[in-house]
């Protein structure tokens, strides 16, 4: 069943790719089986893209930036896939239509593929599906994968574990705009990009960039092989966009030469394996009737301080093993 589908994916047919991703997103056991078979087959054809995570506060202009950046890349012969990660999209109702209207020009471009976040509440679930979507997009010949996430949740840390390089999109305003960004995100960034550096904001943007450089000076870089950069751009005017790609290529070069990129991907893959194993185990435990019956009382007592976490864990594990 998955063979023609695989062929379609390898031929770079967008419809086949979309169907393959839908299959990988399904939680139905038979679908999971087919998806795993498909993924195993396409795996040898994956891994050739540069994987970029992009985040920023709402209003930072992520969609406009991705429109401009993606368009620039396609003009230079690249094929660009945009994957959204938003564990809240179920509630916020993020839909393919929503994403397509957000990036109108790009979505109409045959060299672009835009996929909204899988509407699955759990971050782990979304991360796994995005991970597999990345592999499928790479197998379909997309050589630049943009994983977009909203800069307000834990999703950034999850996305940082999915990508090679992490871009943080900021707006001028001298630091205060960062109040909206969850702590820790600045330190995930390999490139801080101050957007809206145009017109009356040009000066503010320069000042903001200087402040960020100062702040970065106080933080140890994520990798010894790359020092995070701070750059300016205007997605609307299209200025500074080519320079972003220059920075990405520098990053890729620097991280590949020393083997750090391959290392990071291997480490990520190992991490995914074990997080998926433990998510599965916890889920199985939580769903065991004997355990499910205990959880509310046990959690209540632990939170009230009348039961130690260790004793409580013991109770749940015993109930599970008896199950």
């Amino acid at each position: 069943m998955s063979d023609p589908l695989m062929q379609g994916v390898l031929d770079g047919q967008r419809r086949a790719l979309a169907r393959a991703i839908t299959l990988a997103e399904s939680t139905r056991p038979d679908h999971r089986g087919a998806a795993n078979a498909l993924l195993t087959q396409v795996l040898p054809h994956s891994g050739n893209a540069i994987r970029l995570g992009i985040t920023g506060v709402p209003g930072a202009g992520k969609s406009t930036f991705i429109e401009a950046f993606g368009g620039h890349l396609i003009d230079h012969g690249h094929r660009v896939a945009v994957l959204a990660v938003d564990p809240s999209s179920q509630r916020s109702g993020g839909s393919i239509l929503g994403d397509k209207t957000r990036m109108e020009t790009l979505s109409r471009n045959p060299a672009a593929f835009i996929r909204p976040s899988p509407t699955d509440g759990s971050l782990g679930g979304v991360a796994r599906r995005t991970r597999e979507a990345i592999l499928l997009c790479e197998a379909a010949g997309y050589d630049v994968i943009l994983v977009e996430t909203v800069g307000v949740g834990q999703s950034e840390t999850a996305v940082a574990d999915l990508v090679d390089m992490f871009l943080l999109l900021l707006v001028p305003g001298g630091g205060d705009e960062l109040q909206g960004i969850k702590k820790g995100i600045v330190e995930l960034a390999d490139l801080l990009l101050v957007n809206k550096s145009d017109g009356s904001l040009t000066e503010d943007a320069r000042r903001a960039a200087a402040e960020y450089r100062g702040a970065l000076h106080l933080l140890r870089p994520a990798s010894p092989h790359w020092t995070p950069k701070v750059q300016l751009c205007s997605a609307i005017q299209g200025t500074g966009i080519a320079e972003v790609w220059d920075c990405v290529t520098q990053f890729r070069q620097a991280m590949s030469d020393c083997g750090a990129l391959a290392e990071r991907r291997a480490r990520q893959a190992k991490g995914w394996l074990w997080s998926e194993v433990s998510e599965n185990l916890i889920l199985t435990l939580r769903q065991a009737p004997a355990v499910a019956a205990l959880i509310p009382r046990v959690e209540k007592e632990v939170m009230a301080g009348s039961l130690t976490p260790s004793a409580a864990a013991r109770q749940l594990l015993d109930a599970f093993s008896k199950n």
Copy 2:
């Protein structure tokens, strides 16, 4: 067996407390059982201390600071327990002797209790034992618990989940000293303390403090009820030490009035429960012969990119359920 021991702990006998902690640190199943019984009994008598995490780069003067700070507190009628968290202490050979010589004056003070890190490689294990040591120290009447950790590993995040307030000890030098601190730690801190603010370093210390205030401005505080402070002190000269305690009391006040402190502790306890459950599950899975036999190959293939993490997880979980 644990009743006289419990009485000794509740009476605040240091030897009984030490024995109780040793019992809680043991991994022997019968010891675990006795420890859980003991902990359940003392639980109602715990929770009355302020729990402070203290970290800093090697050379920041943690021991000297704890000597001065602990001494100051005891002079003001407090009883101080110092717990070290160092998952590497097994290798680095951290020993009770080591810790006692590090804090000579304090260790000779009857109102102080100093306990080195449990020599157990795994961070999860060390965290659990420290958590239980905190409860036992509180039951023994210590009203200030200092949890010290080396500012170079992941241990800070674990410690931040153990304590009410997190202190980061820094030395003058205009930011570069932070290069040694793992990223993310600055953002855990409720109080940044620039130590060694004396003699020729006084000016550098002031400059460093100003830089940190600037950097903090760019980061969203951990709690909406508290904005991280930056203060100066000289542990050797004993200056700024009283002000540290003032800051701690302000923090405690601010976080208690709005219920944020109780909330944080409840959230921490719930987190401990589930991390302990999943650590146990993963360990059981890893130790299952059928799984243990698979792991090396599966991990190798995943890291080499020839097997998807999902398919690999499936293989391990199937082998486990067949076990």
